[in-house]
C-alpha cells in the first residue's frame, strides 16, 4: 500500500513540476511528441538486413529532401503574401470603417437603432497595440526559439538513446498491484498520441495544399498564406474549418479586384473540407480516437481555456485516453 501512495505522490509532484516550469517542460513535451511521431519510422529503419536498412534510409532521406523544396517555396511565397498584406492593412482599415459606417446608416434607417460604438476603430486599436506588444516581445521570442532549437534536438537525442532504459526504470517504479493496467494504458496512450499527431499533421498538410492550389487556380490573392491558415486552423476540430475560412472571406469582401470572387473561394474551401471529411479524416484520424462530437467540442473549449492553441490540439488524444481509463475502471467495478 505504501508503494501505491509513494507512486501517486511522485506522480502528483511530477505534474506540479510540469505546471510550474513550463520553460523546461514545454520543449520536453514537444520533443516527446516528435519522438512518438518519428519512432515508428525508426523501427522500420532498424528492421531487416543491412541492404534493407540502406534502402529505407535512402527512401526517407529522399522524401525529406523532396519535402524541403515545396516547404521553402511555401515559406517564401507566404512571406511575400504577408508583406503584401501588411502594406494593405491601412487600406483594409479604411474599407472596413467605410463598410461599418454604411451598415450603421442602414440599421438607423431601417430600425431606428443607432450604434454609437465604433468596433472597427476599437479592433484596429487592439490589433495595433497587440502588434506593438508583439514587436517589443520579439527579442524574448527569438531567445525562446533559440532555446528550443538547442533543447529540442538534445531532448530528442536522449529520448531515442535512453527511451528503453527510462521505460524500464519507470516500469520498475510502478507498484505490482496496478502494473499491468498502467503499462497497457501507458502503451496505448503513447501509440495513439503519436498516431493522432501524425494523422492531424498529414490532414492539415493535405487540406492546406488543396486550398492553396484551388485559390491559385482561380487567381485569389494571398493563396499561400490562406492555405497555411486553413491547414493550421483545421487542426482544431469542428471550429477549425470555419476559422480557416474567415481570412478568405475578409479578403474577398474587402477586395476591389473584380477577379476576386467570394463564390469561387467558398467553393474551394467547401471542396477541400469535403475531401477532408469524406476521405482524409475517416482514413487517418477517426479510427485513432473514438469520441462523441459533443465531447470533442467541450474538450476543445476546455483545452483552449487551459492551454491555448496547443491545449486545443493535445486535448483530444488526452480525452480519448481518459475515456479509456474510465472504461477500464468501470469494467473493473462491474466485474466486482
Amino acid at each position: 500500500m505504501v508503494k501505491i501512495y509513494l507512486f501517486f505522490a511522485v506522480l502528483i509532484s511530477a505534474l506540479a513540476f510540469i505546471v510550474s516550469f513550463p520553460r523546461l517542460t514545454l520543449p520536453l513535451g514537444f520533443s516527446y511528441i516528435l519522438y512518438l511521431m518519428i519512432n515508428p519510422l525508426t523501427s522500420k529503419l532498424l528492421r531487416g538486413s543491412n541492404q534493407q536498412r540502406i534502402i529505407y534510409s535512402l527512401f526517407f532521406t529522399a522524401c525529406a529532401c523532396l519535402l524541403v523544396i515545396p516547404l521553402v517555396a511555401t515559406l517564401y511565397n507566404a512571406e511575400t503574401d504577408f508583406k503584401q498584406l501588411l502594406k494593405h492593412i491601412p487600406e483594409l482599415r479604411i474599407k472596413l470603417q467605410f463598410k461599418y459606417i454604411q451598415f450603421r446608416e442602414l440599421l438607423l434607417d431601417k430600425t431606428g437603432v443607432k450604434l454609437s460604438l465604433d468596433p472597427v476603430t476599437y479592433v484596429m486599436r487592439n490589433v495595433e497595440s497587440q502588434g506593438a506588444n508583439l514587436l517589443s516581445s520579439i527579442p524574448s521570442l527569438v531567445s525562446s526559439v533559440l532555446e528550443w532549437m538547442l533543447l529540442v534536438p538534445l531532448f530528442l537525442y536522449f529520448f531515442f538513446k535512453e527511451s528503453k532504459t527510462l521505460k524500464v526504470k519507470f516500469m520498475e517504479f510502478i507498484p505490482n498491484s496496478i502494473f499491468e493496467k498502467t503499462y497497457v494504458l501507458f502503451s496505448q496512450f503513447n501509440t495513439k498520441f503519436g498516431e493522432y499527431i501524425i494523422a492531424k499533421f498529414i490532414e492539415a498538410t493535405i487540406l492546406g495544399s488543396l486550398v492553396t492550389l484551388g485559390l491559385m487556380l482561380v487567381g485569389f490573392p494571398y493563396p499561400f498564406i490562406l492555405g497555411i491558415i486553413a491547414g493550421v486552423t483545421n487542426i482544431l476540430p469542428y471550429v477549425g474549418p470555419i476559422i480557416g475560412f474567415i481570412p478568405a472571406l475578409a479578403v474577398a469582401l474587402l477586395s476591389q479586384n473584380p477577379d476576386v470572387s467570394l463564390l469561387s473561394a467558398t467553393i474551394i474551401y467547401l471542396i477541400a473540407n469535403a475531401v477532408d471529411m469524406v476521405l482524409v479524416f475517416p482514413l487517418l484520424v477517426s479510427k485513432i480516437v473514438n469520441l462523441h462530437p459533443i465531447l470533442v467540442v467541450v474538450s476543445v473549449l476546455a483545452g483552449g481555456q487551459i492551454g491555448g492553441a496547443v491545449g486545443m490540439i493535445v486535448v483530444i488524444p488526452m480525452v480519448a485516453f481518459i475515456q479509456l481509463l474510465f472504461k477500464e475502471i468501470y469494467q473493473d467495478l462491474n466485474a466486482q
Binding site: 499491468e180 502503451s187 473493473d332 466485474a335 466486482q336
Partner: protein, 191 residues
C-alpha cells in the same frame, strides 16, 4: 534472418560473411563476464520455448518485465482485466478460487496467464498469489504487439506456443468434464 539460417544459405565453407554484430552481442550477453542477469539458461530449459533458437531467446528476453513479489502478495485478482503472461523465475505462485481455496501451486519454470495474450477483454478466471518471495518474468499484450511488428516470425512462434498450451489445457479440461459427467451419471443411477 538468424545466424543459423544465414549460414545455411551461404553454405558451411563460405567465408565471405562479414563480422556479425548481432552474434557478437549475443555471445557477449551469454558470457559469464556480462554483469547483467541473463535469462538464457532459464528459457533454454523451458518446454514452451523449445522451438526458439538461441538468438530468438536473446531477442525474446528484451520484451520481458521482471517483477518481484513478497510472500502472500497478490499478483492478480479473480475478475481483473488480464494483459500479461508470466513465467515463474524463482519462488512459487498459488492459483486460487475467488473464495481463497487453492487450485494449484506452481513452482519454478512454470508459467500462467497465457489466455490474457490471446483473448480480447480477458478477465482473470482465478486469483494468483505469491506463496513466498517470488520473481516473475512477464510479457504483456503491448509487448507481443511490438514483437509481431519488429520480429514477426518470433512473435508468431510465441503466439503459436501459447496457443498450443491453451489447446492442451482445453483438451485436458474436456477429458476431465467427460470423466466427471460419467461419474455423475453413475451416481444418479445408483440413487
Amino acid at each position: 534472418m538468424s545466424y543459423e539460417e544465414r549460414k545455411k544459405e551461404l553454405g558451411p565453407d563460405d567465408n565471405s560473411e562479414r563480422l556479425n554484430i548481432n552474434l557478437l552481442r549475443y555471445l557477449w550477453e551469454a558470457s559469464p563476464l556480462y554483469f547483467k542477469e541473463s535469462y538464457h539458461t532459464y528459457f533454454r530449459n523451458l518446454s514452451i520455448l523449445k522451438s526458439f533458437s538461441d538468438n530468438d531467446i536473446r531477442i525474446f528476453t528484451k520484451y520481458l518485465h521482471r517483477r518481484e513479489f513478497e510472500a502472500n502478495e497478490l499478483i492478480f485478482k479473480y475478475g481483473d482485466s488480464g494483459y500479461g503472461f508470466y513465467f515463474i523465475h524463482s519462488g512459487s505462485v498459488s492459483i486460487q478460487e475467488p473464495n481463497g481455496a487453492e487450485i494449484v501451486n506452481l513452482g519454478e519454470k512454470n508459467f500462467f496467464g497465457e489466455l490474457a495474450l490471446l483473448e480480447e477483454g480477458h478477465r482473470r478466471p482465478a486469483s494468483a498469489v505469491a506463496s513466498g518471495p517470488t520473481v516473475l518474468l512477464g510479457v504483456f499484450k503491448p509487448d507481443v504487439e511490438k514483437m509481431l511488428e519488429s520480429h514477426p516470425i518470433l512473435g508468431a512462434k510465441f503466439i503459436h506456443e501459447a496457443a498450443v498450451i491453451l489447446a492442451s489445457k482445453v483438451g485436458h479440461m474436456t477429458r476431465e468434464i467427460m470423466t466427471l459427467r460419467r461419474k455423475i451419471e453413475l451416481l444418479e443411477k445408483k440413487n
